[in-house]
């Protein structure tokens, strides 16, 4: 993965930039010490690292506006950063850029149970949004695996999903309004506590724009009443095809579980060895969870188990109590940790039509043999959002590149069967150079035209999402030098 070379004229502006930023920000909010800057050299895509020229940690929308205005005037790129948990390199800086971290902005600004929304500063972590409202029986629905650490700012930038979005949708479906700071420092309010912002759906295009259109400093989020209860059931099958058919039949039957998770044999074995969740040794496992009162759950699970029985499961295990429910989820929730213990891994999130599941899993198995790299699959089956984990050895020369080529082949396969490169992690730098496989030049041009409107100088997170050669002409302009 390439990043553009830093521009000497930008690096030369560093001391002037520090001076100006220090005038606007409180002491300690401008970081220029090389040792301290190392904390910002990568996100969760740790294979790629580059220290930024500076990092700033503003505490308010007004300070964010000052930072952006100054950087805009000096034509210095800005890379917004939530909590730095992006798996796609969304917060990877370039050496001539300023990291704008929103971590200090984590207040809850307004909580309204009657109208079911909460307004927060976007540095607040995903889980602590729920934390702020759960005493009153509410929760914030999108639940990415990193929810303990990841910030709402990053969730909005990447339009994050989670295991429960089959029922509750992803970030964009739960976002009512934002305060957005444009690259030139102007502050705009879009949407609010009411539904459907006026005019063109700017909110819809800002969510998922990977920090390239503006910096979201505050967000109004929809909160939901917590269900009375939830219960998972574990289903074991002796082939991926049969498990896939079972998923399809459950959906066809008109029952919509809150989550359907799928694990294949390599993943089951690794998780079992790591977490001892008591999973059966089989080809494919499903975890299906439903919500409601006890009686409602009984009714739904009875119907779901009846469907599963038609597919000759090796085992059906309904959680009898909270402890058993916890153990059913334990293995699934420790999948990433389990993989990390075995080896380095790369996690992809291509999404496919549910009907293509067996074919795609078979092809991934074949590719795994061709490349000589192991792969484990764990994913949100209800919505076709795959998560192949490719294992490699970062200390072995050439292994990372081999793994990346394997990953690229899997993603191209996802596109071939009617799916997409990324379902919830974002493009970042990771899938940037594959965009041409999903989109024709005119399709990419239309997306870049949106950035042209919001950020004409292409200073916000400029080297992401679009293949470098495609965005090169736009990034080449240096207003300050002209």
């Amino acid at each position: 993965m390439q990043m553009p070379d830093p521009r000497p004229e930008r690096l030369a502006r560093k001391s002037a930039l520090v001076r100006q930023l220090q005038q606007c920000l409180p002491q300690g909010a401008v970081i220029s010490d090389p040792a301290e800057l190392r904390a910002y050299e990568c996100d969760a895509l740790a294979a790629y690292r580059c220290a930024p020229m500076l990092a700033v940690l503003p505490s308010s929308t007004a300070e964010v506006s000052d930072v952006l205005r100054i950087c805009h005037e000096m034509s210095v790129p800005v890379v917004p950063r939530g909590a730095g948990t992006s798996l796609a390199g969304g917060a990877l800086p370039s050496a001539d850029s300023v990291i704008l971290g929103v971590a200090r902005m984590n207040a809850v600004l307004d909580t309204d149970y009657e109208n079911r929304f909460v307004r927060v500063q976007t540095g607040r972590t995903n889980l602590s949004v729920t934390g702020a409202v759960e005493e009153n029986g509410f929760f914030y629905a999108p639940d990415p695996s990193s929810q303990l650490a990841c910030a709402i700012a990053g969730n909005i930038a990447m339009n994050s999903g989670g295991a429960h979005c089959l029922k509750y949708g992803v970030t964009t479906n739960n976002l009512l309004g934002v305060t957005l700071v444009l690259m030139d420092g102007r502050v705009v309010e879009i949407g609010g506590a009411h539904m459907d912002a006026a005019g063109l759906d700017l909110l819809g295009v800002i969510c998922g724009s990977e920090g390239q259109l503006g910096v979201v400093t505050e967000a109004t989020l929809r909160i939901l009443p917590k269900p009375e209860g939830a219960r998972p059931v574990l289903m074991a099958f002796d082939s991926n095809e049969v498990a896939g058919a079972c998923v399809s039949d459950i959906i066809r039957a008109g029952i919509l579980p809150v989550a359907i998770e799928f694990m294949d044999r390599p993943c089951i074995r690794a998780c079992e060895a790591f977490a001892h969740a008591g999973y059966p040794d089989c080809e494919a496992l499903l975890i299906v969870e439903v919500e409601g009162s006890d009686a409602e759950i009984d009714d739904q699970l009875a119907r779901i188990m009846a469907i599963a029985r038609k597919h000759d499961p090796l085992e059906l295990r309904e959680a009898q109590d909270a402890d058993e429910a916890g153990r059913i989820w334990l293995g699934r929730k420790s999948a990433f940790g389990a993989m990390g213990q075995i080896n380095d891994y790369m996690c992809l999130d291509g999404t496919i039509p549910v009907t293509a599941l067996p074919l795609v899993l078979r092809r991934i198995g074949e590719l795994s043999r061709d490349y000589g790299l192991d792969v484990a699959n764990v994913f949100h089956a209800g919505d076709g959002n795959m998560h192949p984990l490719i294992l490699f050895n970062a200390n072995k020369p050439g292994d990372l590149e081999l793994c990346e080529r394997f990953g690229a082949d899997i993603l191209k396969l996802c596109v071939e069967v009617g799916g997409c490169l990324t379902g919830e992690h974002g493009v970042g730098i990771e899938k940037r150079d594959l965009m041409g496989h999903q989109y024709a030049p005119a399709d990419l041009e239309a997306q870049m035209a949106v950035k042209d409107v919001f950020d004409p100088g292409w200073l916000l997170n400029p080297a992401k999402v679009f293949p470098l050669e495609v965005s090169e002409a736009r990034r080449a302009v240096d207003v300050a030098a002209e």
């Binding site: 459907d196 005019g199 063109l200 999404t351 039509p353 990324t422």
Partner: protein
């Protein structure tokens, strides 16, 4: 102009030498009247893919909505965002199309929990103002590959591009529906009941209140629950013994009929006056109308989305005969509360003089104008429709 293929649509737009008025079935005559050659999408019709097990459908934009709904019904599925038929309300004729639903982001009562039309759109193909074919999104449930132009196109009323094909998520028809009804509540206590019901874990999928003038003489408050039969009965009972004490249950077809009327805004069909569609936060619905009453603005209101969507029937003559259908008083109220008001129905003259869509603050208006200039540099797609 009536293209029969996407390629032909692209040629026609590329070759156009003046403004175009984009029409699906012509049933959603909303917005500032547009002068221009009519470009109809009805010739782009047909369902190209339907996978019930994946809850997805792909169809051309001109496909009649009725065809889409019939195909879904045959598999026990439906459009969960409940798009309305506005022919009665707007006094239009023609055949509502899928593309029109998307372009106008038509969403009914279930929007309050399930989302708007835009939330169910998975992918779109459209032709921009210079005749280029663009695609965005795809046909899978989760997709963050690049910017979400699908949402941008939804509700853009044909001003950014002419939609040629959409793929979207569909949902199963629930086994049963029940509506809990209470007559005679005033708007404030009605909406308070709606908010309370929406705040329970009992998965309310519709929450509306109709003024006496919209409900045939006695005001009416409605709360819908849908799902598996046993579950619906359980939830109805919990609500009736809790926050909806005194509400009575209507089941099945009787329940469905109540929501069809709301979806299509039937109570205002065929009645004289301008119709406004206002979005505010739910508890502000009755605050808004109380403010209008204080100013002596005559109105009849339907509150949907738990109180947050207010349909208002008001005399075209408006406040003290200003001839603005009450725009001045209404927009002042809305600005104070936060939200937006659309002059949904009004004479052509009225829609030429009163901004139909809520005027935007300058920086937002500039962003929207900037997007239009990029997608339609010649300004020929429904120019001026959105103001």
């Amino acid at each position: 102009m009536r293209p029969t293929s996407e390629a032909e649509l692209a040629e026609m737009i590329a070759g156009a030498d003046g403004p175009l008025r984009i029409c699906g079935g012509g049933t959603r005559a909303v917005g500032c009247p547009v002068a221009g050659d009519i470009l109809e999408t009805g010739g782009l019709s047909g369902i190209s893919l339907y996978e019930p097990g994946a809850l997805t459908m792909v169809a051309e934009a001109g496909t009649p909505l009725a065809d889409v709904e019939a195909a879904l019904a045959a598999e026990g599925q439906r459009l969960a965002f409940e798009p309305g038929d506005w022919r009665g309300l707007l006094g239009t004729e023609g055949v509502p199309t899928l593309g029109g639903v998307v372009a106008a982001n038509v969403s009914g009562s279930r929007r309050v929990v399930a989302g708007a039309a835009r939330d169910f759109m998975l992918g779109v193909r459209f032709v921009d103002g210079i005749g280029q074919i663009v695609k965005n999104g795809g046909r899978v449930m989760k997709n963050v590959t690049g910017y979400d132009l699908v949402k941008l196109l939804s509700g853009s009323w044909g001003t950014l591009g002419v939609i040629s094909e959409v793929s979207f998520k569909v949902m199963p028809v629930p086994e049963m529906e029940t509506t809990l009804v209470c007559d005679g509540l005033d708007a404030k206590s009605g909406v308070r009941s709606l908010c309370a019901a929406l705040g329970t874990p009992f998965e309310v999928t519709g929450a509306a209140h109709l003024d006496a003038g919209a409900a045939g003489g006695t005001s009416r408050t409605l709360v819908r629950i849908e799902g598996l039969a046993a579950s619906v009965s359980y939830r109805a009972e919990r609500l009736q013994s809790g926050v909806l004490a005194g509400f009575e249950a209507r089941e099945g077809a009787a329940s469905a009929a109540l929501w069809r009327e709301l979806r299509d805004v039937t109570p205002f069909a065929g009645r004289e006056g301008a119709v406004w569609r206002v979005s505010v936060k739910p508890s502000d619905g009755p605050v808004l109308t109380a403010g209008l009453a204080e100013r002596g603005v005559t109105h009849t209101a339907i509150y949907d989305w738990g109180g947050g969507l207010v349909w208002l029937l008001m005399p075209e003559a408006g406040d003290s005969g200003a001839g603005d259908a009450g725009a001045g008083a209404l927009r002042q109220q809305v600005a104070a509360l936060g939200g937006h008001a659309t002059l949904f129905r009004g004479s052509q003259d009225l829609r030429r003089t009163v901004p139909v869509f809520e005027p935007q603050p300058a920086p937002l208006a500039a962003l929207q104008a900037g997007l239009r200039a990029k997608f339609d540099p010649r300004g020929i797609l429904n120019p001026g429709l959105m103001g």
